[in-house]
């Protein structure tokens, strides 16, 4: 079990940027050139998708909350890039990056943000509630920490069915103080469930820094010890490190059916949501330092340039393609229709949506 390499956020800044110490780790060294380029491409796509979202939000086309993932891309990218057929994921409301990583299209993601019927949830979920169960993605959850028991249950189901799989259950650093998270920790360890709790520690829960919210023994992951669970801390600016350490947790899940808590240090560049003017709780200088020195997309690009996997031209092509894809998605969302009034009362009950000769239930279920 690793000792906390990083004590409190934002001390992860002390990690020198530069060549990744994890490039030679087997999970990374074994990647083909194409796989590395694909991973970089996915990170770039998340970045450009979200930056496009900002403009659409500012045009007033996205309602409600919009929580951006910009700065945190290596967390979703690194962890999800390792998953196989029976590995599932579930997260909170900062869920776009995970969605694109599992293979959701920019069109359905963008259209969901603008509440269109072509969205992944047909305009019924919005930014915080992306779902793609066909890609093992179980949301997209708006209540802080509420997804932790669900992720534990998905892992329970995998184990019950005798499959070698897992459920990566993501949450923020603020979520670790929710009772539901602790209940999930206890059940996961008590029942040896193949769940990996991924705490994306970006240093803040809304405008509250970790120091002001959380009593902890040096790092948040260490709370796992209270539940007799393995844990580790990860520099989330280095996608190679994320992969290397997550791979160990996945192995533990697959081979021993045991849970792990991973705390991944990361940083968000924009406010908590687009509604946050971001003026009260951190210095602009801090954001700039992260952007300049710790940017996960840039660091991985540099890594791949050094490895001669990427060339500046190829990188430019990838980024331009991602931007063009996001532009197209914006047009798709614009041109898509709204759900209809009749759609409001669909998708409430499976039995109503699938009425047939076998349906037994009757009576009024949607009231006037």
């Amino acid at each position: 079990m690793a000792k906390p390499a990083v004590l409190t956020h934002p001390e992860s800044l002390k990690h020198p940027a530069g060549p990744s110490a994890y490039a030679k780790d087997p999970v990374n060294a074994s990647m083909t050139k194409e796989a590395k380029i694909a991973l970089y491409t996915k990170m770039a796509r998340i970045r450009h998708f979200e930056q496009r979202c900002i403009r659409i939000y500012q045009q007033g086309k996205i309602g409600g909350f919009l929580h951006l993932y910009v700065g945190q891309e290596a967390v979703a990218a690194g962890t999800i890039s390792l998953l196989g057929k029976n590995d599932h994921i579930i997260t909170g409301y900062r869920d776009h990056g995970h969605g694109l990583m599992v293979g959701m299209g920019m069109n359905e993601c963008m259209a969901e943000l603008t509440g269109k019927v072509t969205g992944c949830s047909q305009g019924k979920g919005g930014s915080m509630h992306y779902f793609a169960p066909d890609k093992n993605y179980w949301g997209g959850h708006g209540i802080v920490g509420g997804q932790a028991p669900l992720g534990t249950g998905l892992a329970y189901a995998v184990k019950y069915q005798g499959l070698k799989g897992s459920c990566l259950t993501y949450m923020g650093d603020g979520a670790v103080n929710q009772g539901a998270v602790h209940e999930a920790y206890n059940l996961a360890s008590l029942w040896d469930l193949p769940v990996i709790f991924v705490v994306e520690n970006n240093g803040y829960s809304m405008g509250t820094s970790q120091e002001r919210s959380t009593a902890h023994p040096g790092c948040l992951a260490k709370r796992a010890e209270g539940y007799n669970m393995a844990w580790d801390v990860i520099n989330g600016h280095d996608v190679y490190e994320v992969r290397a350490k997550t791979a160990l947790a996945l192995k533990r899940a697959h081979e021993e059916s045991k849970p792990t808590v991973l705390e991944i240090f990361t940083y968000r560049y924009f406010g908590h949501s687009m509604a946050d003017p971001d003026k009260t709780y951190r210095e602009k200088e801090e954001i700039k330092t992260y952007r300049d020195k710790k940017d996960p997309v840039l660091l991985f690009e540099q890594e791949l340039l050094r490895e001669k996997v990427l060339t500046p031209e190829l990188s430019q092509t990838i980024n331009e393609a991602a931007m063009a894809e996001a532009d197209k998605a914006a047009i798709f969302a614009d041109e898509s229709p709204d759900p209809t009034l009749a759609d409001i009362t669909k998708h409430i009950y499976w039995e109503e949506d699938n009425r047939g000769p076998k349906t037994t239930s009757r009576g009024t279920i949607i009231f006037e």
């Binding site: 534990t152 998905l154 539901a180």
Partner: protein, 325 residues
Amino acid sequence: MAVISYREALRAAMRDELNRDENVVIMGEEVAQFNGAYKVTEGLLKEFGPKRIVDTPISEAGFIGLGIGASMLGIRPVMELMFWSFSYVAFDQIVNNAGNIRYMSGGLINCPIVIRGPANGGTNVGATHSHTPEAILASHPGIKVVCPATPYDAKGLLKAAIRDNDPVYVMENTILYNDKGEVPDEDYIVPIGVADVKRIGTDLTIVAHGRAVITSLKAAEILEKDHGVSVEVVDLRSIRPLDEETILKSVRKTHRALLVEENKPFCGVDAQVAYLIQSKAFDELDAPVHRVSSIDAPQIYCKRMEDLQMPSVERVVAEALKVLA
């Protein structure tokens, strides 16, 4: 047809469904080794083993949330709450997660979970343990709620609930657990959303659910014997979906309605039923609709007063006479 208790009927339903579908799992506090806090699950661990019958820690938000997550992948958990009163610490899971995921995913996901356990007052255990949350929960689209009053309905509704692909919350009653009744051995279900006319009559319709049905049936006997009034008793059985037609049909026949429930009056189930009757059968009514519910206060501990707080046979008879006056 065997005569068995309400408790045995629930157990028989679970046993049938455990045998029928290997994805059915029973989970809850003390359900396995201890044989159930109310012995509803007695013997199931021995019969089905620890993979199917699972003891949980005292962690309602945790284990119910886990059950909901597992149900999304096709497990069919039947979760026991020692009391529905304890659902309040798991409210986010029960309402936000189980109730909303299908909708928020645009129909991509469903949660075939059953949560069952007693939801009743009248047991002298004070306010924290006497909640009847059927109205609170049924007010959320996405959730189904049933309240069986007899052993026959308990077995049939629980089996239907376990086979249903939506979250179904089954609210039982500890006072009814020992009640006996005829229950078929062979496979049957009571369809969710179908009310049952438990007594046929012509002068007054009483609409009730849960133990209030039993109270109302006793009151109906007295009304017949002592006052010569013929009372029809409609047992809702299911709160959501609600069998509006059976209620309306009865009211159109008797032209008078009394609504009885053990909830507190404000926003109770019968507030909805009263609205239904006035909106769809206003012209049929010969008298205003009356209600009998629990006295509007947290559940009192003192047993003598609690018996007065809840709908009694006497109160139902007295109120019925007012409707008939």
